[in-house]
């Protein structure tokens, strides 16, 4: 166990292992996306209320789910990095940020496009959408802070503190927005609530969720490999690798 843990902390070991896994992970991603899109677009029934717009759900829900899972990964990696002073965990945390920010933006965009036909408006100050917007700001803040500090280890540690502060605040923000939303929009709540999902829609949703997570795994590994190259640029093995 400890051997494994200390190995995980070794950039060279991770770089090589991820390099071996990457082709398979990308292949799995493509496969799941093809299967998921077919299920979502062709083989799932239209919703009796939302019609064909329900097909947007198969993108919106996984993107929103991933945007939050990605933030959680970033925060956990930050805790590990700060507590055990593990350089690799800093690289993982930094790599999560751009992917998570992109997923959050995608969740917001698909949410707005989905909202137009069913709620009749592009934007509703709904608790979920608003929390997602705040999440985007948190990601942007993390990236901006990391980019503003020129010294690598200082940037890593400062951004890690911010990620942890953010993850402590997210539930509070979500709760308060939820509370505020029920206060102001009591009438519209019922039309925002989603009914229970039918089994015929669960399979496409699960496949798409798996596809998004496979994409997350693959792009995170690639991104961490880049981060390693950047951080270990002075080391012997990276120099040998670049020359080869």
């Amino acid at each position: 166990m400890w051997l494994w843990f200390s190995r995980l902390g070794s950039p060279k070991w991770f770089y090589e292992l991820a390099g071996r896994w990457l082709p398979w992970t990308w292949a799995l991603t493509v496969l799941l996306f093809v299967a998921g899109s077919a299920l979502a677009l062709l083989f799932s029934p239209p919703d009796y209320q939302q019609g064909e717009t329900v097909r947007i759900m198969y993108l919106h829900v996984p993107a929103a789910f991933l945007s939050m899972a990605c933030y959680l990964t970033m925060a956990i990696a930050s805790v590990i990095a700060l507590v055990w002073r593990m350089k690799m965990a800093f690289a993982v945390a930094r790599s999560c940020a751009p992917i998570g920010a992109a997923m959050t933006a995608l969740a917001l965009f698909t949410g707005a496009v989905w909202g137009k036909p069913i709620w009749g408006t592009w934007w509703e100050w709904d608790a979920r959408l608003t929390s997602e917007l705040v999440l985007l700001f948190l990601y942007l803040g993390y990236i901006a802070l990391h980019e503003s500090i020129s010294e690598q280890s200082q940037a890593d540690r400062a951004a890690a503190v911010l990620a942890i502060v953010g993850v402590v605040n997210l539930p509070i923000i979500h709760f308060s927005v939820d509370w505020w939303n029920t206060l102001h929009q009591g009438a519209s709540i019922s039309r925002l609530q989603k009914p229970a999902i039918d089994a015929s829609m669960l399979w496409p949703l699960f496949t798409m969720l798996a596809a998004f997570f496979a994409f997350f795994a693959a792009s995170l590994m690639s991104r961490v490999r880049n981060e390693i190259l950047k951080r270990e640029a002075a080391s012997r093995w990276v120099k040998a690798l670049v020359k080869a």
Partner: protein, 220 residues
């Protein structure tokens, strides 16, 4: 009592620059008094807007005043000295937050009723506004300290601090202004006060730890 000594030093040094203490206050009044020009001088409309306007202005004034309490100490190296001599970064961050609140937060709370009058806020709502600000502004100072301490080494960090901290201010803003709104409609607002108190206590316990850690990182 180390905290008392740190606090005395904080107030003595930050209080020396009178202009830096007054400017956030003037900013608070100025921003609020822009709204009648922007919206309408109509008393009913202004009363409707007042809770939100005053709360947002107080929040921005707190954010603006942060720099004065940290940047000077950081640049002349006394922050590093203090970290070495006090031994506890969290205690130092707490002292700074309390000093910040006493010199800017508290004056904002005292000036707010005058702005409430300008915006035709009813009397009940005035009381609610003072109470919510009294509980909310210390939380703003404590949370703001984290953002400020994280960005100490960065040139022109003002806009970055806003980006980091404003999302975290949302809960305080929501409960603060909705408490005032409830009071102006004649509704009870003890729920909002309780939630603000909860946020304040949570911030009091956790924020100095995070800010202290950030101080250590920024000065290393």
């Amino acid at each position: 009592m180390r905290l008392a000594a740190l606090l005395r030093r904080e107030i003595a040094i930050a209080g020396r620059n009178k202009a830096a203490i007054l400017i956030p206050l003037v900013f608070f009044v100025l921003v609020t008094s822009l709204f009648p020009f922007a919206v309408s001088p109509d008393a009913d409309q202004l009363a409707l807007l007042a809770p939100g306007v005053i709360w947002v202005a107080a929040l921005l004034a707190t954010l603006l005043s942060l720099e004065h309490f940290y940047q000077g100490d950081y640049l002349d190296g006394s922050l590093e000295q203090l970290l070495l001599t006090t031994g506890s970064p969290a205690l130092l961050a707490l002292a700074k937050s309390i000093g910040h609140w006493l010199l800017t937060g508290l004056p904002l709370v005292l000036v707010a009723p005058m702005l409430g009058l300008l915006l035709h806020l009813p009397l009940d709502a005035q009381v609610a506004m003072v109470l919510t600000l009294l509980l909310g502004t210390p939380a703003l100072c404590l949370i703001g300290a984290i953002g400020m301490c994280l960005t100490l080494g960065i040139n022109r960090n003002g806009i970055l601090v806003s980006l980091l901290i404003l999302p975290l201010y949302i809960p305080v803003l929501i409960f603060g202004s909705s408490g005032v709104q409830a009071a102006s409609l004649g509704l009870p607002y003890d729920g909002q006060l309780a939630l603000l108190a909860a946020i304040f206590i949570l911030a009091l316990v956790l924020a100095p730890v995070a800010a202290g850690h950030a101080l250590k990182i920024s000065t290393s």
